[in-house]
């Protein structure tokens, strides 16, 4: 009888658990424990700075993978990954035509995981374009652009253009033959615009052909100008998803 009144003895696992999660430092970071009850789980989403973009509850059909394939979220995840790898790449890269190519060579040869870093940045950029395109197709084929979500579709088209521009401006930076001639071909197309073609091309390149001015312009746009603009549009995009009532669903 006495056994029932005594608290059960702590197992080894419990001891480890308490050691990690029930100490002063951990609890100063995560103010509550693991949210076990529905109420706490909603609070965990609503009060967490990273999670509060989400609503606290969503419709059952929206967690089905085949409804969204996570494409929008993954596009955003690529943007985050590109930001992280991009910042790391900036440590090793100087945007001058004397140094740019050499910096990339040295990054690949001398920096630990430098080649991997550059590969990650490039493949993530390609992946982001493909994911954004697929996300657009998903939204179209599920009819999710219909009222009241018209404007968010427009914001999405702008985000698609900005994604292409981000990738295009980054393409020049290695300053190799591939980069140089791809940008030459691309900006020549801009130059063929009626009325303001030559002016736009001059503005973009800072000259009549791809050179030092073009490199610094593309670099600045790539690492700060366009990321700032796309961040603003993404903020609006995500905000409007919530404001317009979450994901579209049949009436």
């Amino acid at each position: 009888m006495a056994n029932l009144e005594r608290a059960p003895r702590k197992s080894f696992n419990d001891l480890i658990y308490d050691l990690i999660f029930k100490n002063y430092v951990w609890q100063s970071i995560f103010r509550t424990g693991y949210p076990n009850t529905p109420r706490n789980q909603m609070l965990a989403v609503a009060t967490n700075v990273f999670l509060h973009l989400h609503p606290t509850r969503i419709h059952r059909t929206h967690v089905k993978i085949t409804h969204t394939y996570c494409l929008g979220g993954l596009s955003f995840f690529m943007f985050l990954g590109l930001t992280v790898t991009g910042v790391l790449l900036m440590f090793y890269y100087v945007p001058s035509i004397e140094r740019a190519y050499q910096d990339i060579q040295e990054l690949e040869a001398n920096v630990r995981f430098g080649q991997l870093l550059r590969n990650m940045h490039r493949w993530m950029a390609h992946a982001m374009i493909i994911l954004v395109l697929l996300h657009m197709m998903r939204v179209f084929y599920t009819g999710a652009y219909k009222p009241p979500r018209e404007f968010n579709w427009v914001v999405g088209v702008v985000l698609f253009i900005l994604t292409l521009l981000l990738s295009f401006t980054g393409y020049l930076l290695p300053w190799d033959q591939l980069a140089f001639w791809a940008i030459t071909v691309g900006t020549t197309m801009v130059g063929s615009a009626p009325v303001l073609g030559d002016e736009s091309k001059f503005l973009l390149l800072g000259g009549f052909s791809v050179g030092p001015n073009a490199l610094i312009r593309f670099y600045t746009l790539h690492v700060i100008g366009l990321p700032l603009v796309i961040s603003i549009f993404m903020a609006v995009h995500f905000w409007r998803v919530r404001r317009d009532g979450g994901l579209a669903r049949p009436l």
Binding site: M42, R57, P147, A248
Partner: protein, 299 residues
């Protein structure tokens, strides 16, 4: 504006709590797993495939073929078939504006939130995509004069005529430029009140002098005006119209949503075809070639 937003809210159903799940853990878990899968997949890809790095940029050495980044190769492909101003700027601008305008044109709230929400959506998508892919491929093959090469090879190969060449009378059918050279435009010209077609065509003042180095908005030089502008634009406008009329005839179209489905799917087909052809099937001098025959020369 207020009334429209209010109407949209009014039509939204009441929240069914029992049909809802909690974001933590259900959604957060999915997001975490998909992010993890992509991180690992990209890490593995990056460990196996290196990002390309060619020789240092050299303005004096032009690679042949020179290509834009792959996501602009659809536009570079268009460049081969029409006036650069159309291919590089006007067509993509119009395409993006039309894309953004879809929800302002198709405002019906029926069929949202489900994949392919109308009765014939599946057929329209498959038809739009397949037909557009096929027609675009055929147009590219035709403008690349592959039908000329193939016809000559087949007739020679069958031994029907070992010296067979494409008949001069069919020169206008070689490719788009064939319309310029294969038709005797000079003998077809006429004069109205001192205005001689087609020589005086360029005298039509269409442009804003001083805005560009070339005072012409677009090149009005006949007959290239016909082959580089009239025919491509008529094709880009006419084919979608034909698509819609055809599907209407089949009884597949009952709403604007159906038209949007058809045209968007066709757009995706064209977008993919031109991107793939531009990336993998264009060799030196932008000639059509199978991918394994493409070599980049530096000149």
């Amino acid at each position: 504006m207020v009334s429209r937003a209010a109407a949209a809210i009014r039509t939204r159903p009441r929240r069914e709590r029992e049909a809802e799940v909690l974001v933590w853990p259900d959604l957060v878990f999915i997001e975490f797993i998909s992010a993890l899968i992509f991180s690992i997949a990209l890490m593995v890809l990056s460990a196996m495939v290196n990002a390309p790095l060619l020789n240092r940029a050299d303005p004096d050495t032009t690679p042949n073929p020179s290509k834009a980044p792959w996501y602009f190769l659809n536009l570079q492909e268009l460049l081969l078939h029409m006036e650069p101003a159309w291919a590089g700027v006007i067509v993509p601008t119009i395409a993006l504006v039309l894309l953004a305008a879809i929800p302002y044109w198709d405002r019906d709230t029926e069929g949202q939130g489900v994949w392919f929400g109308t009765k014939f959506a599946g057929r329209l998508t498959v038809f739009g995509f397949t037909a557009a892919t096929l027609i675009t491929s055929l147009l590219i093959i035709w403008d690349g004069s592959l039908h000329v090469v193939w016809t000559e090879n087949v007739i020679r190969g069958l031994g029907l005529n070992s010296d067979f060449t494409w008949p001069g009378g069919l020169d206008w059918f070689r490719n788009l430029r064939g319309f310029d050279t294969g038709i005797p435009w000079d003998s077809l010209g006429f004069t109205i009140g001192g205005f001689t077609m087609f020589e005086d065509w360029r005298a039509i003042p269409l442009g804003i002098p001083g805005t560009t180095t070339d005072p012409w908005l677009l090149n009005l030089n006949f007959p290239s005006f016909l082959s580089q502008q009239i025919i491509p634009v008529a094709t880009m406008v006419g084919l979608p119209v034909l698509f819609v009329l055809f599907c209407k005839g089949l009884g597949w179209i009952h709403s604007r949503r159906d038209i949007a489905l058809l045209i968007f799917s066709a757009f995706i087909g064209v977008y993919l075809t031109t991107t793939i052809v531009g990336t993998a099937f264009r060799g030196q001098g932008q000639d059509l070639k199978p991918p394994w025959d493409i070599v980049v020369l530096e000149e």
